[in-house]
């Protein structure tokens, strides 16, 4: 299937982007990442402890997966910009998943701080993938600033509530000229399928896999779910009808 995901100057065969948070250990994470078929995976940037590295980069390197540093935990544009600049030096990548959240209970993006951070980082040469609300207007503003993709939430981070406003996601897709990557809220494989059926270019998920009872099996399910939704989106579904329509000949 030659249907690559194109973001900025990169191409990926997989339309599933994963996170690394929540896995109980690195061995579980490695098996899940491998099963997911992902080629791009988020990591967070934190203070080193006395033991040095955490081993997560080595796992990604072994699997040939590109790291996508995030700015998780940042509340202000200034914090996010500093974290992105540190990530660029630590990982040697100018790609960043820009995350600026408003508070700890909702973890919803703060649109004002997000726009400011995106503008600063784009000026500084970053490839910015912003985690944003399911707000079609904000998505457009982020694209106009020069973001390489827009990443609206399906529902709040870690809730597994799925896609709470499918119509907003469709509105975002309908006007976007950059990839729309649904980020956050995925609970199970059918959610990932729905996202792709709505016309999104990719899905970003972490918790749904890493905190599943069997992360490796759920990662496999997500891989298939994304592929199924992508194919269905392009296949031209039948119209929904109120009354039955026989699929066998009358006699």
């Amino acid at each position: 299937m030659d249907d690559p995901l194109v973001i900025g100057d990169r191409q990926y065969n997989s339309r599933l982007i994963t996170g690394t948070g929540g896995a109980t250990n690195l061995a579980v994470l490695e098996r899940a990442l491998k099963a997911s078929g992902t080629e791009l995976t988020t990591v967070s940037i934190r203070r080193v402890d006395t033991a040095g590295g955490t081993g997560v980069l080595e796992v990604l390197e072994r699997l040939g997966i590109d790291p996508l540093p995030n700015t998780a935990g940042c509340r202000t544009a200034a914090e996010a910009v500093l974290t992105a600049r540190m990530a660029r030096e630590a990982l040697g990548t100018s790609w960043v998943k820009l995350e600026v959240v408003a508070d700890d209970r909702t973890l919803l993006p703060d649109p004002v701080e997000l726009l400011e951070a995106a503008a600063t980082l784009i000026d500084d040469g970053f490839t910015v993938l912003p985690y944003t609300n399911d707000d079609p207007v904000l998505a457009l503003r982020l694209e106009e600033l020069g973001c390489a993709a827009v990443m609206p939430l399906g529902s709040p981070i870690g809730t597994g509530l799925g896609i709470r406003n499918p119509h907003n996601i469709e509105l975002i897709v309908a006007r976007a000229n950059v990839p729309v990557i649904l980020d956050a809220g995925i609970g199970t494989a059918s959610d990932a399928t729905l996202v792709m059926e709505l016309g999104c270019s990719a899905v970003l998920l972490a918790t749904a896999v890493t905190r599943a009872t069997d992360p490796e099996a759920m990662a496999t399910a997500m891989r298939h779910g994304v592929i199924a939704g992508r194919l269905a989106h392009g296949a031209g579904r039948v119209p929904q009808r109120f009354w039955a329509q026989a699929s066998s000949p009358p006699r």
Binding site: V43, R47, V48, T54, V56, A90, E99
Partner: protein, 66 residues
């Protein structure tokens, strides 16, 4: 000299560069980023940048997340 590293006081050689400081702290240079007194030090400048006495240093790396 004494500097603050990630909020803890540490003793490193006087006049150490960022590269020498990381070695003294036992932190692998690969996969880490360093800020000195709030300024991110580009990786290409680690060998030349001298850490001032009493500096407030942050050393960050990638961890599981997101």
């Amino acid at each position: 000299m004494f500097i603050q590293v990630n909020g803890s006081e540490r003793d490193v050689p006087d006049g150490a560069t960022v590269t020498e400081m990381l070695a003294a702290l036992g932190v692998p240079a690969r996969g880490v980023a360093v800020a000195v007194d709030g300024t991110v030090i580009a990786r290409t400048n680690h060998d030349q940048t001298v850490v001032p006495d009493g500096a407030d240093v942050e050393v960050l790396t990638a961890v599981q997340g997101g």
